[in-house]
């Protein structure tokens, strides 16, 4: 009935349509969250299938922002994620330099230790970590969370940075060293600038890990002042069960930064993460 060419064309379009539908279905919960956050209160419970608002509003975001403790939680999350990701990126860059550019006896043991820490699930370290932090008086303080998040960020950051650094030819090092540079200068003035986009991407990834973190925050923080966003949202959920607009707006505020950062740095992160986890 159709020529073979039209047939493949029809199949192509059909497959493309199917792909769009399947991916949209996967993303539906996230799309629903944003649409509900933008829905006026009056339309909230019109009908379960009325997902798309008839009119859009930002008033839900205003309401969650005026909830007691929410701005404070936002500041806490921002500060904890920013400081921990900055510190872990710098320390990881130094460690990656050591693992990528030098040969020494304990290198394999060190690699194994860092790899082991990466495989360590949060739930099996939370008890002694919290007790250790309590011992030094860091419970209910954002600083305690900053320190804990280094544990989540550093191992994966070291592997990703080492991966990118391995791609920079050693000849560049040799040229710099012959010109009289020392190792610190080599890293700071040659290698780090060469892989700057990757360093920024790894920093962004570390930020994402800390920003939405739940287990350590839940176990470490009980006071309202020290709360981060996930805890503030959970608390608001308990108090204002029925105000879906306000709560979804809160969810959107937490989900947005990692989403934007990831889309922005997607190309670097995907290759780094997949190759890292496969090598590991």
């Amino acid at each position: 009935m159709f020529s073979p060419k039209t047939r493949t064309r029809v199949i192509d379009i059909g497959l493309q349509a199917l792909t769009v539908v399947v991916v949209a279905a996967m993303l539906f919960p996230i799309i629903w969250l944003y649409l509900t956050a933008l829905k006026p209160q009056g339309q909230m419970f019109d009908h379960p299938l009325a997902v798309i608002p008839r009119t859009f509003t930002l008033e839900n975001f205003g309401r969650i922002w005026n909830t007691v403790g929410f701005p404070q939680a936002f500041v806490n999350s921002l500060m904890v994620a920013a400081v921990s990701s900055l510190v872990s990126t710098i320390l990881s860059l130094l460690a990656a330099f050591s693992l990528s550019r030098f040969e020494y006896r304990l290198k394999n043991s060190f690699s194994l230790l860092i790899l082991g820490m990466q495989m360590l699930p949060g739930i099996v370290i939370v008890v002694p970590l919290i007790i250790t932090l309590r011992g030094v008086g860091l419970t209910n303080h954002p600083a305690g969370l900053m320190v804990s998040y280094l544990l989540l960020q550093m191992p994966v950051a070291v592997w990703m940075l080492k991966g990118y650094m391995d791609d920079i030819p050693v000849e560049i090092d040799e040229a710099a060293l012959i010109d009289g540079a020392n190792y610190r200068q080599l890293l700071r003035m040659i290698i780090a600038p060469l892989m700057l986009p990757a360093v920024v991407a790894v920093g962004a990834f570390a930020f994402m890990l800390a920003w939405g973190e739940y287990i350590f925050a839940l176990a470490l923080i009980t006071s309202t002042e020290a709360r981060t966003l996930p805890l503030a949202l959970q608390n608001a959920f308990g108090q204002f069960q029925i105000d879906w607009g306000m709560l979804t707006a809160g969810g959107a505020i937490i989900a947005m930064p990692p989403t934007v950062l990831f889309i922005f740095f997607q190309r670097f992160l995907v290759s780094g993460l997949t190759s890292g986890s496969l090598k590991g």
Binding site: M44, F97, F102, P121, I131, T248, T259, S277
Partner: protein, 310 residues
């Protein structure tokens, strides 16, 4: 003989310089990795060893302010605790279910995205959003979607006769299965991206050669693609399986392991002992046992890959 001495003198000076250089290199290597090691030692290794010690003690915050050594009694309690075995059973169900669903959904979506089009390029980036979403947001969003009164998904499931009046999350018979699906939903994107990368690295000539030999699309998938992405699929299944086995946050944020303990995974039981019951040493005992299981998992992982490589 003077020239001979001269040369050997020069040689030793050169090797001296080389030795100095090597020592300097070694010092630099250790100095650069030292800060990271100190931090990981203090917040990773030390707590880990401390936890092993705690697992051999009795430390119930309501009765004693300090841990008291009591040998293996914690582990005896663990193996005779019916809740541990029930939680472990649920965790195995959860882990296997999560990985099977991730493989099935991940393979399907990766195959769809494998055709090189502009739209698929955009979709491959967007597909990662569930994986990036913070777990508290994932947990609450699914609670809303499955809400028995206003939940969109609940309404659809109800009209298909797949759900009754109660939310699927509110009934002990269905909550674990539904949350297992949510866990797979969050992990699938990672599987998709890894499989997609493996699929795209297969040289096109292989398919062309097979076409010339008259292979069907199914045969090309089965005899060319599948063997070449199997390694990635196994590796990702193990990585995601380990992640699933230690799941805690979504289940806790949705309903703290309820209703009626029906979603109490082993990680949830650990946290409950620590957080709610203040039985610190028992929580440590559970954690150490889970770590031993992790070591066994990792050993299998490494072993499987050694087999493959050789």
């Amino acid at each position: 003989m003077a020239w001979n001495q001269k040369i050997s003198h020069r040689l030793s000076a050169a090797s001296q310089r080389r030795a100095n250089f090597a020592a300097q290199r070694r010092r630099a290597a250790y100095l650069f990795i030292l800060p990271a090691l100190i931090v990981l030692g203090l917040i990773g290794l030390y707590p880990l060893l401390y936890q092993v010690y705690l697992s051999f003690t009795d430390w119930y915050l309501l009765t004693s302010p300090e841990p008291i050594f009591h040998g293996l009694r914690g582990f005896e309690r663990l193996v005779t605790d019916p809740v541990v075995w029930a939680s472990l059973g649920r965790t195995v169900y959860w882990t296997v279910g999560t990985v099977v669903l991730e493989l099935a959904m991940g393979m399907g979506i990766a195959l769809l995205l494998n055709r090189r089009t502009v739209i698929n390029g955009v979709l491959s980036a967007l597909i990662l959003l569930p994986w990036v979403a913070p777990s508290i947001v994932v947990a609450l969003t699914w609670r809303w979607l499955l809400d028995s009164e206003y939940g969109t998904l609940h309404y659809i499931l109800q009209s298909l006769d797949l759900a009754g009046r109660r939310s699927l999350l509110g009934s002990p018979a269905t909550a674990l299965a539904v949350l297992t699906f949510v866990s797979a939903w969050k992990g699938t994107p990672f599987m998709v991206i890894a499989l997609l990368a493996a699929m795209k690295s297969i040289p096109h000539e292989l398919y062309e050669a097979a076409s010339v030999d008259g292979a069907s699309a199914l045969q090309k998938f089965w005899y060319i693609m599948l063997p070449l992405i199997r390694r990635t699929a196994v590796a990702m299944s193990l990585v995601l399986g380990i992640l699933a086995f230690y799941s805690f946050d979504i289940v806790w944020a949705v309903g703290k392991g309820g209703p009626a303990d029906s979603t109490t995974l082993i990680g949830v039981y650990l946290f409950r002992n620590f957080f709610e019951r203040k039985e610190i040493s028992y929580a440590a005992t559970i954690a150490v046992s889970m770590l031993v299981l992790l070591l066994i998992f990792s050993a299998i992982y490494v072993w499987v890959f050694r087999q493959r490589d050789s």
